[in-house]
Amino acid sequence: MATPREQEAADYLRKHKIIELMDNLTSMLFFYRPERPNEFLITQLEQLRVSKMRSLDCPSLFNDTNLDAVLGILDPTKQGHITFVQYKEALTTLGIEKFNECPEGVAKDKISQETFKREAKEGLQRSSATFISK
């Protein structure tokens, strides 16, 4: 049975999404591998703070070129759209947990590239902006 202090600590972690924040920060660290991890982390955190204040884009590991590359893999014949299952798989692999299950075009099972990119970007913003409580 969790003691009151344990409960408090667990609630705090959940409320401020500390684990997700740490995930994002460590991913950045391992990808960029800066010589001075402390300074790098400070820069990332400051950027996060600024984007929180001014509702700008949050720093994220994936950018437009990555999303284009993903589309390239999923749609090698360049039809211009992907299936719903592909869409779901791709967004899950990107680490986006809650995404729009009914994007445009799901009826015909043809989700256009623009829709995919838009949903992906929104989802990524949501994962990075851990300071926004549910």
Binding site: Y12, M22, S27, L61, F62, E89, G95
Partner: protein, 517 residues
Amino acid sequence: MTPITFSLATCEFVLASDLDSYDKQTANHLIAMDETAKPLRIPPEMAIYAEKHEIFDLVQTLVMNLMVDKPEDPIQYLVGLLKRGSVEVPRVMLLGPPASGKRTIARKLCEHTQVIHITASNILKEDTDLTKKALQYKAKQQEIPGDLWIKLIQQRLSKIDCVRRGWVLEGIPQTREEALSLQEAGVAPNHVVLLEAPDAVLIERSQGKIIDPVTGDVYHITFIWPEDKEVVQRLERQKAVSEEQLVAQLMQHHRKVHALRKTYLNCLKSIDADQPHVDVFDQVLTYILSQHRSVAPHTPRVLLFGPPGSGKSLQAKLISQKYNIVNLCCGELLEAVSADATNMGELIKPYLESGQQVPDSMVLQILTERLSRLDCTTRGWVLHGFPRDLEQAEKLQESNFIPSRVFFLEMTDDVAIERVTLRSIDPVTGERYHSLYKPAPSPEVQTRLQFNPKDSEAQLLRRLKEYWANASSLQDLYPEAVHINADQDPHTVFESLESRLVGRLPKSLPDRGQNYS
């Protein structure tokens, strides 16, 4: 998935987008609809980076601080924490009965490591509202109430000098209740040192103990006498502590220390204070610099060096069996490659057959290929037989396969000669024998025994000379290497290796004038 493996999974995917530099396997995973559980392939650069900068411990400390302080704005708080510089500073509690030498040790610690020294009396010397309240109690000869005392300590420890340089609490906490309240307030030490000595020794010591009224330093008539004449004059006018008072204090201490020991069970170390204080200090310092077992994920990458006959193959085999890491003997690896009908195999065959040394570039290529295979990167490796000289070692460093532990098995030449020249093998059973240590069981086996021409005395002396010619430059290249005495039975050697392999390396003292980390 734990947080770190999850973030590594996202990284893997990012790398996959850059298709010409990474494995297409990951790309296929996207196209395949079912989730086959492929092992997560972490590039070795990430693992090396994580170990070198101790990322796991950094994140652990950050989360720990967040959970203790629970700030409203975690981002701001983290920035502050990171800006303060080193997140790992010494946090020591020095406990023990009166006259055990706490003051002397604490002072010495401050000299050596720049930590802040905190005692029950110097907390009250601060000039804050809380201290003024506390002093009021003292003036009335009353005990300072528990929660006020804890708040005082917490306030002192959260000042910037303690946060930056670390602290040593001398004689605090006195009781288990105090210890638990400190924990609740978020004050937790990394190391707790408990000085112990028999009562008789303590009583005798206290007879000669004299405290300098001005500086608060502790001196002793026989053991520690000041050199400064002024101090000597001050001391001569002081009286020693009375014996009855001391006995009462000792009884109280014995009652309380048992409970304190239980509170700090996982980071406490008892040190025998009945020794010259220099020795006590050495032990305390070694303990404080040691790091507790970390739960950080760690792939062992071990290099074993030693003269022929020192037991490298045996130890490597033992380590790889017990910890399930890949055992790589350079000689065997080369022979295995030459047995394959590959290009590389054909190239090195003539060298191996004629007994010449295979050129460094080829060896390195074979080795790096083997080390970058999945089993080595996920399970770890122990390598022996390479590098043989400084050049090879430098090339190994450049290839980005940096070892996490380096061991030098030390042995004198005569032991080496004895061990190697009497080695033999039974070709029928494959058992290895030794004329002195493990003789053949029957005359029948004895006649069959074969001696390896490499083990002849002439060849051995040549190999030994070669080893010693290169040993010192190799040792210079690996300053953090551990030296193990190989002139013992294999299990003792294995235990020494193990203790350094599994635990973390102790921190080294920085040069004076720098921060701790």
